[in-house]
């Protein structure tokens, strides 16, 4: 697919086929951002401003380079822009995050569940 030309101009780690991701959360954060832009929630130049500030702060603090650091900035920028555009509040995000953490800590998870022949 062809990326939006403006988005193309915001440097995204990519090869000749398009953006590259190391882990699904990076692709998910990317996809959320693209979809919110398509829905008209913010323009790419607005995004570039917020995202650019994250990258600049990260670079200044001597943080690592590469995809992971890049998408950490991306994620922080996404959290900021949804608050800036009043789509979600930081409180909503922190409450929800606590809920996900709680679920991931307390759900019995990891035992292979064996199911015998189906009763027919």
């Amino acid at each position: 697919m062809a990326l939006d030309p403006t988005l193309q101009s915001i440097s995204i780690p990519q090869d000749e086929e398009g953006p590259v991701f190391d882990e699904p959360w990076q692709a998910q954060a990317f996809a959320l951002t693209v979809k919110l832009n398509e829905a008209g929630q913010f323009s790419w130049s607005e995004w570039a401003e917020v995202f650019g500030a994250e990258i600049a702060a990260d670079t200044e603090s001597g943080q690592g380079v590469g995809n992971t650091a890049y998408y950490h900035c991306w994620l922080s920028a996404l959290e900021k822009i949804v608050a800036l555009k009043a789509l979600l509040t930081p409180e909503q995000l922190s409450v929800r995050k606590a809920e996900w953490r709680e679920a991931s800590e307390h759900t019995p998870h990891g035992q292979p569940i064996e199911i015998r022949k189906s009763p027919k």
Partner: protein
């Protein structure tokens, strides 16, 4: 790569943050789950199920490799260079006439990225996560997979630490096919266990 997490740990912070954004934005109707998935899917072939298909095809033709894969899947797939986050403890499950394995992540969407890429939307959906545990045969039938009554169905719950790769049964009529041609028959769902590998006639699209 991202933070390693061990038994009992919550999901990594970044994953929690993205899940929070995603779930809230979906609930508010600001984005659609299917549309997000379609976008992610476009990039899926980057680390996509073609990797897993190569592994399965090798296991079908090379008994020694198959044994290595069943014994230590992480090392066996690393022979192809398939390594990285979320593949640290990979377990291969072999489907036979007696046992059919199917994989789920009941909590979220744990999935063996290095061999299968990003999970499909149905794998992440609540109905699949809940139902495949309770009524696996019915769910499999919805995927067009009908198993003989005598076949035992085993459902495996993926975790942040342990991911599963199903080795589907080698289809009949493929004795003459080489490894590359066989890999074409290995569809993504067959490595999750919801479908079987394609038959050679299907693959030719005759």
């Amino acid at each position: 790569m991202g933070a390693n997490h061990k038994h009992g740990d919550p999901l990594p912070e970044t994953v929690l943050r993205v899940k929070s954004l995603e779930s809230l934005l979906i609930e508010k109707g600001l984005v659609e789950a299917e549309a997000l998935d379609a976008l992610v899917d476009r990039y899926e072939n980057k680390v996509g199920p073609k990797n897993g298909a190569k592994v399965v095809a090798r296991a079908w033709v090379d008994d020694a490799y198959r044994e290595r894969l069943l014994k230590d899947a992480t090392s066996a797939v690393a022979e192809f260079g398939f390594t990285g986050a979320q593949g640290e403890e990979l377990v291969a499950l072999e489907n036979t006439d007696k046992v059919h394995n199917v994989v789920v992540c009941t909590l979220c969407s744990c999935y063996p990225w290095p061999v299968l890429g990003l999970p499909p939307v149905w794998y992440k959906s609540a109905p699949y996560r809940a139902r495949v545990v309770r009524e696996p045969r019915k769910v499999l039938e919805e995927f067009g997979t009908r198993l003989p009554e005598g076949t035992e169905v085993r459902v495996w719950d993926s975790t942040a630490e342990t991911r599963y790769l199903v080795i589907p049964k080698r289809p009949e009529g493929t004795e003459e096919m080489d490894e590359d041609a066989l890999a074409e028959l290995v569809n993504r769902d067959s490595m999750i266990g919801t479908r079987e590998a394609d038959s050679p006639t299907m693959a030719e699209g005759a």
